[in-house]
Each structure stands twice: as structure tokens, then as C-alpha cells.
């Protein structure tokens, strides 16, 4: 028995025999010449390019079914294959009497070398794709098919150095129990694909290629990153049990995740997703989200030189609203400033960024920026069930000022004859203790509260949540936090309004029963936590 450790990239347990996927490079002598006439070699070249194109196109179509984004790379592969610059080079080499494989190899390697020298990693990484195409072409010329994952001889845990999109596009799925790779991290192609297909995977396992052999029995634990080779009976029995339990739980969660859930005492709880970009829409839907409880809009504003236009924002908001139809989508207005550098806003450097001009404070100082966002949200409002939420509210005057601005924007749109939804809910995040303490008063100005626990905890204990030395103070279940939460919920209920929660605490299995007891109405969390939370709610009084 031997144990190795890697990074768990896709959860689940696999027990089975190993299949080593170690495709060999074709031996090609790049200096070899022959006396075949150019026209003959050129004819073969054209034929193999056509055959390779068909192959890549099939990979493209096959991959597109599961992973649209992943498939795009094959479009580039086809262009590499037919690249006029490379073909011209091959022609020249063929005319100098190089053999066809030699000419292909020489011509491609020249471009590979150029790309490998590029500084930007994005461009550098394309050298790998170019090589992938070169290998395919050489295989076609030689007629030798090297090892492939399109037919795996037995149900197996696939062990490889790393996997490329070409390796996995024609994957024989029914025989794949799991993936183990020696290189790569959680953002590698293998990790992303495994997650999308729901196949357990561990990546970055050092020495796995030298330790593992074809047919060897192995255990893979995708949650912990453990790989056990040739396990003994006791270990095997333990993991069989663990696997059974994992699969039973997974099945149960699959059953409940798309349900609208209620507690045992009959209160329906909305379980929503927190998302940070439009790419997350599908992840949220597939996790069973009842709506979006927190749509962070910061992604639109970061990493750029000028603020996003109204149109760009409108399109992003519209996309999310359309995807969720009648289900609620709470758009949080810009929560930025302080520690995040946004050059185009010309923010002053602050001594205490977390206590400075951020979120609503920044928006009320940059009214133009805020108005553009509100206009974009209002215009998108007709496409779904929108709610607006202001972050970092400390006192009621901030709500009044923001609401006045919202009123102005509505008036302007009416005058311009632009359509928008007339009545939708407006709420605030309760994440500063002063807001919780004065919830009774603040609720008069809004339709709902959403408790942001990450900041609420940090501001209540005066403890920076990124500072490990004070992490003992970061305690969501401390009575001072629970009291603030309870005050907030009670205040909203007294006025027949509601309170949700969108901090990390909302998805915490230890916190959920307590929050339900206090009367929380909605919980919003990262999508992966939704199925479990729904199950827990159904089991709670």
C-alpha cells in the first residue's frame, strides 16, 4: 500500500484499476530527405490536412455539447492546421527534398519556438496548442494511431501527466472512474472538465507516473486529494463505505435541490445564490437556486481604465434577469473602494480603507457613476424580477439620499419615454452594527434587509477578517452577532417586511438551524452550498 497526495479538483471517490495514459511522441527525423516529387508529397499533405480538419471539427462538436467555452480552442486548431504561413514553409521544405514528416515538423517547430519565447503567458500557452495540431498531422501522415482515450479497455482511473482538450474531447466516458494527473492545478483543463462531468479528480500528484502501473488497484478521493495505490483490505473496506455514503448523499441532494423547500413547521425559505459575474448564471441554475440573493456588480468595474457604459451594464443585468425569469434577482449596487484600487475613480489613499469611502459612501460622492448604474438596472428591470440593494448603509440619511437619486432617475427615464418596471423592492444590506441596532427605524425606508455577515462580524468585533492573528474573533455564532441578527429580523417582521442573509454564514450548516429559529426568510450562498442547505432546511423544525 502506498499513499500519495495531490489537490482535490473534483469531489467523489473512485475505486478501480489504473489505466496509464502516456501517449508517445512519434519519432520523426526532421533532417530526413527523400527523392519523391514535390507534387506527390503535396497531394498527401492536402489529404491529411482535410482528414485532420474533419477530426478536429468532430472534437469541436462533441466538446461543445458539455463545455461550450472549452470547445472554442478547436476553432483555433483548425486555423493552425490551415495556416498559410506554415503551409508555405512546408512547401518550401518539400521542394528542398525534405520528407513530408520532416517538413511538417520543421515548419511547425519554428512557429512553436517563436510562441514559446513570448512573455505573455496567454500567448505562450498557445505553443502547446500548435504542438497538439502538429502531432495530429504527423499521426495522420504516418497512419499510426497512438494511444487514445476514446476507447479505454476497462473501467479505470486514468493516470496521465496532464490532459489536453484533444485528449479528453473524444473521451470514452462510460469507462472513466476518475482522473489523476501529475501536473496541473485546480484551474487546469483536467480539473475543469472533471468538475463539469461530475467525475472525481485529483491533480498535481507528484511521482504518480513512476509509482502507478497499468491495472494496479487504486483509490482516489477527490475531496481530500488522497491517492492510495494497492490498498489493503481494511483501507479498501473503509473507502467502499465512504464512497457508498457519498453517493447516497449526492443522490438525495439531487432529489431536493430543485425543490422549493419549507421547514418542518411549514415556513417556506427561499434559498438563493450569490454570483459575481454573468458566467455564474448556469452554475447557479444547475445548483437549484431559487433566485439570486446577491448579484455583485463589481466585476463590471474592476480591471479597466474607464467605467463601464450604461449599455454594457444594461446588457449584463438583462442577461441575469432573463435567465431567472420570474425568480427574484437582487442586484447590489456597486460595493467598491477602500482596499480595491480603481484608477479611474481617483480615490484618495486612506489610512483605514475598510472604514473609509466605500460602497454606498462612494456612490453618493460619485453621483454620476451611481446614476448610470441605476439607469442600467431600471432599463433592465422589465426583463425579470429585479430588486435593488444598497450596500454599507450606516444611517437612514444614506437610504433617503439614494432613494431620492433613484426617484430622479425614474423621472428622467419617464421623460425620455424609456420603459422600466414601476414597482420593485428596494432593500439595504445590514452589515454595519449601527444599521442592525437601528433596524426599527431603517426598515421604514426600505422593503427588505439582507444581512451581510462577513462585514457585520468584522465591524462588530473590530477585527480585520483577512488578518490571521485576530481570526479567533471571527465568530459568526457569538451571542453579539446573533443578537444583532435577531434584532434585524424582528424589526423587519414587525413592519411585515422580510430579512435575508447573503454572507458566508447563510450557507453554514451549523448556523442555518439557528437562523431559521430566529425567523430568517431567505438565505443566499455560493451555489455549491445550495443543495445541502435545502436538505438541512427540510429537516429543521
Amino acid at each position: 500500500m502506498k499513499q500519495l497526495k495531490g489537490i482535490g479538483a473534483s469531489t467523489g471517490i473512485a475505486i478501480g484499476k489504473i489505466f496509464m495514459y502516456t501517449p508517445k511522441q512519434l519519432p520523426v527525423n526532421a533532417e530526413e530527405k527523400d527523392s519523391l516529387p514535390f507534387s506527390e508529397k503535396k497531394e498527401i499533405l492536402e489529404r491529411v490536412i482535410n482528414a485532420a480538419e474533419k477530426e478536429i471539427d468532430a472534437l469541436y462538436k462533441n466538446t461543445r455539447k458539455n463545455a461550450e467555452k472549452e470547445a472554442e480552442i478547436f476553432q483555433a486548431h483548425i486555423l493552425f492546421l490551415k495556416d498559410p504561413t506554415i503551409i508555405k514553409k512546408i512547401d518550401e521544405l518539400l521542394k528542398q527534398n525534405f520528407t513530408l514528416p520532416a517538413a511538417v515538423k520543421k515548419a511547425f517547430e519554428e512557429s512553436v519556438a517563436i510562441m514559446e519565447k513570448m512573455e505573455n503567458p496567454y500567448f505562450k500557452a498557445r505553443a502547446k496548442d500548435l504542438r497538439d495540431v502538429e502531432e495530429r498531422l504527423l499521426r495522420k501522415i504516418s497512419g499510426i494511431e497512438t494511444q487514445s482515450l476514446s476507447s479505454i479497455p476497462y473501467p479505470a482511473i486514468i493516470v496521465a501527466k496532464d490532459l489536453t482538450p484533444s485528449d479528453t474531447a473524444s473521451l470514452d466516458r462510460k469507462n472513466v472512474l476518475g482522473f489523476v494527473t501529475e501536473t496541473g492545478g485546480i484551474t487546469s483543463h483536467t480539473a475543469i472538465l472533471a468538475e463539469a462531468l461530475g467525475i472525481p479528480a485529483v491533480v498535481g500528484v507528484r511521482n504518480i507516473l513512476s509509482e502507478a502501473k497499468n491495472g494496479m488497484l487504486a483509490i482516489l478521493d477527490g475531496s481530500t486529494g488522497d491517492i492510495i495505490l494497492e490498498p489493503d483490505e481494511t483501507t479498501l473496506a473503509r473507502y467502499r463505505q465512504k464512497k457508498e455514503q457519498y453517493e447516497r448523499e449526492k443522490k438525495e441532494l439531487e432529489k431536493v435541490k430543485f425543490l422549493s423547500v419549507s421547514t418542518k413547521s411549514g415556513k417556506t425559505i427561499e434559498v438563493s445564490a450569490n454570483i459575481g459575474k454573468t458566467d455564474d448564471i448556469n452554475i447557479a441554475i444547475n445548483s437549484g437556486a431559487d433566485g439570486i440573493g446577491l448579484f455583485r456588480t463589481e466585476f463590471l468595474f474592476l480591471d479597466r481604465e474607464i467605467p463601464p457604459s450604461e449599455e454594457e451594464q444594461f446588457n449584463a443585468y438583462k442577461k441575469v434577469l432573463e435567465a431567472f425569469g420570474s425568480k427574484p434577482v437582487i442586484i447590489r449596487t456597486l460595493d467598491i473602494g477602500g482596499d480595491k484600487q480603481i484608477p479611474y475613480l481617483g480615490l484618495e489613499k486612506e489610512l483605514n480603507p475598510f472604514l473609509g469611502v466605500r460602497a454606498i459612501r462612494l456612490c453618493l460622492k460619485n453621483k454620476g457613476l451611481f446614476k448610470t448604474q441605476l439607469r442600467a438596472i431600471l432599463r433592465a428591470s422589465i426583463y425579470g424580477n429585479v430588486k435593488i440593494m444598497y450596500p454599507m448603509i450606516a444611517i437612514k440619511d444614506e437610504i433617503i439620499e439614494a432613494n431620492n437619486l433613484l426617484k430622479t432617475v425614474k423621472k428622467e427615464l419617464t421623460e425620455e419615454g424609456v420603459a422600466y418596471k414601476k414597482d420593485f423592492e428596494v432593500g439595504i444590506m445590514v452589515e454595519i452594527p449601527s444599521a442592525a441596532l437601528n433596524a426599527d427605524e431603517l426598515i421604514k425606508y426600505v422593503d427588505f434587509f439582507s444581512i451581510g455577515t462577513n462585514d457585520l462580524i468584522q465591524y462588530t468585533f473590530a477585527a480585520d477578517r483577512t488578518n490571521r492573528n485576530v481570526s479567533y474573533l471571527y465568530n459568526p455564532l457569538h451571542p453579539s452577532i446573533l443578537k444583532l441578527i435577531e434584532m434585524t429580523i424582528k424589526a423587519s417582521h414587525k413592519h411585515n417586511k422580510w430579512t435575508g442573509m447573503c454572507g458566508e454564514m447563510a450557507g453554514d450548516p451549523k448556523a442555518i438551524p439557528i437562523l431559521l429559529k430566529m425567523g430568517i426568510d431567505e438565505l443566499s450562498m455560493s451555489p455549491s452550498k445550495i443543495p445541502n442547505a435545502k436538505k438541512l432546511i427540510m429537516e429543521t423544525e
Binding site: L79, F80, T85, E119, N120, Y122, T278, N315
Partner: protein
């Protein structure tokens, strides 16, 4: 022959997918198309050459089109660049 300067605004510059779209667009026309970045020049019908330019975000490029359908070709290129290669957000 017509030329026009552009600033590439999409997130990753002319890297894999945008470069592929550029080449695919240019391939629809008979005109010869060149891209210049500083001193370096590339045949826009070759993805390898386009990638080798290493055009990143906010780089300025010069597009040189010559041939019978040069006007339409430049229009198509302009549209592609201005739409940020269809990149969302």
C-alpha cells in the same frame, strides 16, 4: 490600399479566440490584409503570425487592406474590433 489604426480594447488582446475570429473574418475576403504593431508586421490570414505579434489590451495596431473588396473587409474588421470580438463584459 486603405489603412486604419485601432486600439484593441478587449480583455485579453488578440489571443486565441479573438485572433481566430480576426483570421476567420479576414478569410471571408479576397483582399490582402496586414496588421502592424510597432515595427512588426503580420499576414492577417495567418493565425500563427497574428498571435506572434502578441497584441495585448490597449495596444495600437494598424490594419492595412488592399484588394478589390478592401472597403468591405475593413468595415468587417472595424466592426469586429469595436464590438470587442463579441466578448461579454
Amino acid at each position: 490600399m486603405i489603412t486604419k489604426r485601432f486600439v484593441v480594447k478587449n480583455k485579453v488582446g488578440l489571443h486565441a479566440r479573438p485572433a481566430a475570429e480576426f483570421v476567420q473574418t479576414v478569410n471571408k475576403f479576397r483582399s490582402e490584409v496586414k496588421i502592424k504593431k510597432g515595427e512588426k508586421e503580420a499576414n492577417a490570414k495567418s493565425i500563427v503570425e497574428v498571435l506572434s505579434l502578441g497584441v495585448e489590451r490597449n495596444n495600437e495596431i494598424e490594419v492595412i487592406v488592399s484588394g478589390e473588396d478592401e472597403k468591405q473587409a475593413l468595415e468587417a474588421i472595424e466592426h469586429l474590433i469595436n464590438s470587442n470580438f463579441g466578448e461579454k463584459e
